[in-house]
């Protein structure tokens, strides 16, 4: 069975494999016609174009404002998404073997380690440019610049100061970040020789943001209960589609009952209400052990911390300040105290029964804030558990240990 690694190049076989992947995904989308399936299709379709010879491949950080690329008709290559996608395909085994051979310490974030192994072994396309943002972590900036140096391509970083613990980032900070984005947007045009379509792209991005913002508001108000784990996985891929026509349509599909039907909160077979949990940080993409256990024990993820992005539209006439604010005031950015304050308020607002923090392998940014989060939730009397795991992992002793810890937590609830 061919893997994504065979989809590179301009040979007939590579084209056929790309077409086969797309056909399979398109068939599922046509069968189910849900926003999630369409998003998978469109994200895959855009990403496969990055494998074509001569494609412009910008490797960017997860929070990079992809509208700056969409403005030039370019799709982003986000290492976290690339790594999560590849480890869910037939390429997983050879990729893990390649990562094990690589002389990079095994204790770094597995998203980044796998992404590096993938590009070094032709399973992901090599970068044409690397564009970072200081949020969220230092590791991905190290990865992006390492790649830039290795492939002799430009590296740029949008520097974003930490927001204050209380309130919003100062206007001059937002203005500075906006200016950096403006300069970078111009530079991308110069590097690629393409003409910008930023206004059009922002209008499309705004359509998606409006839909997503509405959906999130409904969830926060308690009028809509969605499965936080599945919803995060969908938005994770949707990150590739902001500012595209497909992205606008896909996010708008979430507004219909049928469009979001496969993302709705599960119901207990006996009709009893499920325990509601708030999920912090990323999710295990390929190991459903913890989530299955939750369902077995009558619990569900009601809301996910990382879904809180792109909730507001930005001004199409002057988009940079709005795009900058998404970075400066991102809920995951800032001190541990800020993160604790925001999540505590969220947990209280949603009246959840407990909070789960997923300690992703090697994420110093995420797991470093756990002691402060734990103390804040303990003080508020809200049950909290931090489970260790690897977002890309599948089984293994660590996952089993986490499953046991979660089992005890659910019993406690």
């Amino acid at each position: 069975m061919p893997g994504l690694s065979d989809a590179t190049g301009d040979s007939l076989s590579a084209s056929l494999i790309r077409a086969a992947f797309l056909t399979r995904t398109r068939y599922k989308a046509l069968q189910e016609r849900t926003a999630r399936r369409y998003m998978y299709l469109h994200a895959l379709s855009a990403s496969l174009d990055l494998f074509k010879p001569g494609a412009i491949v910008p490797w960017v950080s997860y929070l990079f404002p992809t509208e700056l690329l969409a403005s030039y008709g370019i799709t982003a290559m986000i290492p976290e998404i690339g790594a999560a996608t590849l480890t869910g395909t037939e390429s997983r085994e050879p990729l893990e073997a390649a990562a094990a051979r690589m002389p990079l310490a095994r204790d770094v974030c597995s998203y980044h380690r796998i992404a590096l192994a993938a590009v070094e072994n032709g399973m992901l396309p090599a970068p044409s440019m690397c564009l970072g943002t200081t949020p969220l972590c230092l590791g991905k900036e190290c990865l992006l610049e390492t790649l830039a140096v290795r492939y002799h391509v430009p590296f740029r970083e949008i520097r974003v100061p930490l927001p204050p613990d209380e309130g919003e980032a100062a206007p001059e900070v937002v203005a500075d970040v906006a200016e950096q984005m403006r300069v970078l947007h111009d530079d991308i045009g110069r590097w690629t020789g393409r003409s910008p379509q930023l206004r059009k792209v922002i209008e499309l991005s705004n359509r998606a943001s409006k839909a997503w913002g509405h959906l999130m508001a409904e969830r926060l108000a308690g009028r809509l209960e969605m499965d936080g784990r599945e919803t995060f996985a969908t938005v994770f891929l949707g990150q590739l589609l902001w500012g595209t026509r497909e992205g606008a349509k896909d996010f708008e599909r979430l507004l219909t009952e049928h469009g979001r039907s496969d993302l709705m909160a599960p119901r207990a077979a006996d009709g009893r209400p499920l325990k509601k949990l708030l999920w912090l940080h990323t999710v295990p993409h390929h190991d459903s052990g913890i989530i299955d256990l939750m369902r077995e024990r009558g619990a569900m993820v009601l809301f996910e911390e990382m879904g809180q992005m792109h909730l507001e539209t930005v001004d199409p006439d002057d988009p940079f300040p709005g795009l900058a604010k998404r970075l400066t005031d991102n809920v995951m950015w800032g001190t541990s105290a800020r993160r604790a304050r925001l999540n505590l308020a969220l947990a209280k607002h949603l009246k959840v029964d407990g909070v789960v923090h997923f300690n992703h392998w090697g994420c110093r940014h995420g797991l470093g804030s756990v002691p402060v989060l734990r103390a804040a939730f303990a003080k508020a009397g809200i049950p909290f558990i931090a489970v260790d795991g690897d977002a890309l992992g599948r089984g293994g002793p660590q996952q089993e240990k986490s499953r046991q810890a979660m089992e005890s937590f659910l019993e406690l609830l």
Binding site: D107, G139, R364
Partner: protein, 323 residues
């Protein structure tokens, strides 16, 4: 005089001294490993580098007894002047920044987290200068009134103690590492019959001496201080391209015959830096050894064997070449 503990050597010590605080590197005040474990000790995730882990415990020792949970604001100092002591955390990496967050939540108003940039350039230097000014202001405001006037002369600095046991000579082993607690790794290389041609470490004298008291006139502006910090701090967390340029220059100057990278486990900047250094070694056809080290450094056991085997292999090569 109150102490201002600090975690990273990219702190201009004369700026601290100018406020009447005696700067002390926290790495010199680690908790006694044989002391009984405290039940209420702050916990950090085991997937955190040993340097940060040990500094959290050290900070608890020097800042006083804790009576509340992190973030509760209920921490208090023990008797004496400990309540006046403070901690500055230059947050260059995620783990160190989170250490600062944890301690700031545990010891309110006694911890200052200084943002350390990756890149350089005028805008970056200006931001750092403004942060340094803010730090100075914060330190001044902490100083008890009766100690404020003319107190700078009474302070004493306590930087890391790491120095070359013997002056580095070109043509030897080039050592790259994270923070080293002492010179035992350098001593080990000497003891094994090789010599050191250069050291790149968070605690190397090239890093802390330019920012030590007396290295610059205390009246210099914050912009100049920021420029000094950026110039001295070409460490693994900095821009890969700038770091590469810096390492190329250092390796060329040292005319290194081999490279040893002593990397702390769970250190992101160190992991990517080791990748870079391995590539530089390969480009120069230099023997390269990467070892994973703890903090404080222990030059015995398996590490000694690995370094010994690596250096012996090189001597063997030299012997064969001579034949």
């Amino acid at each position: 005089m109150p102490y201002c503990y600090y975690t990273c050597n990219l702190l201009p010590l004369h700026l601290v001294a100018s406020t009447g605080h005696s700067p002390r590197w926290l790495g010199n005040h680690l908790r006694d490993p044989n002391a009984p474990a405290r039940r209420d000790a702050l916990s950090v995730h085991p997937m955190t580098c040993p340097f940060v882990t040990k500094l959290v415990a050290a900070a608890e020792e020097v800042l006083g007894e804790r009576t509340g949970a992190p973030g509760s604001g209920e921490a208090s100092a023990t008797a004496g002047t400990r309540g006046d002591d403070c901690l500055v955390v230059p947050g260059g990496c995620d783990a160190m920044r989170r250490l600062g967050d944890l301690l700031a939540a545990t010891y309110p108003d006694r911890v200052f987290v200084l943002q350390m940039p990756r890149s350089s350039g005028p805008e970056v230097a200006a931001t750092l200068a403004s942060d340094l000014a803010r730090l100075q202001e914060w330190l001044r405001a902490r100083m008890p009134g009766d100690l404020q006037a003319g107190s700078a002369a009474a302070v004493s600095a306590e930087p890391p103690t790491l120095d070359y046991p013997r002056p580095p000579r070109p043509g030897g082993v080039f050592l790259v590492s994270g923070p080293l607690s002492d010179d035992s790794l350098l001593g080990l290389i000497d003891k094994l019959g090789a010599h050191v041609s250069g050291l790149e470490s968070c605690t190397s004298p090239d890093r802390w001496k330019p920012l030590a008291p007396g290295s610059r006139d205390g009246g210099s502006g914050h912009e100049a201080l920021a420029a000094d910090v950026l110039a001295a701090g070409m460490c693994p967390r900095r821009s890969t391209a700038e770091r590469r340029e810096h390492l190329v220059r250092r390796l060329d100057e040292a005319n290194a015959s081999s490279i040893i990278y002593a990397r702390q486990s769970f250190c992101d900047p160190g992991a990517y830096d080791a990748l870079l250094v391995a590539q530089l070694a390969q480009e120069r056809a230099l023997p390269y050894l990467e070892i994973e080290v703890d903090f404080p450094f222990d030059a015995n056991g398996p590490l000694r064997t690995r370094v010994e085997a690596f250096l012996e292999a090189q001597l063997l090569d030299d012997d064969l070449l001579e034949v």
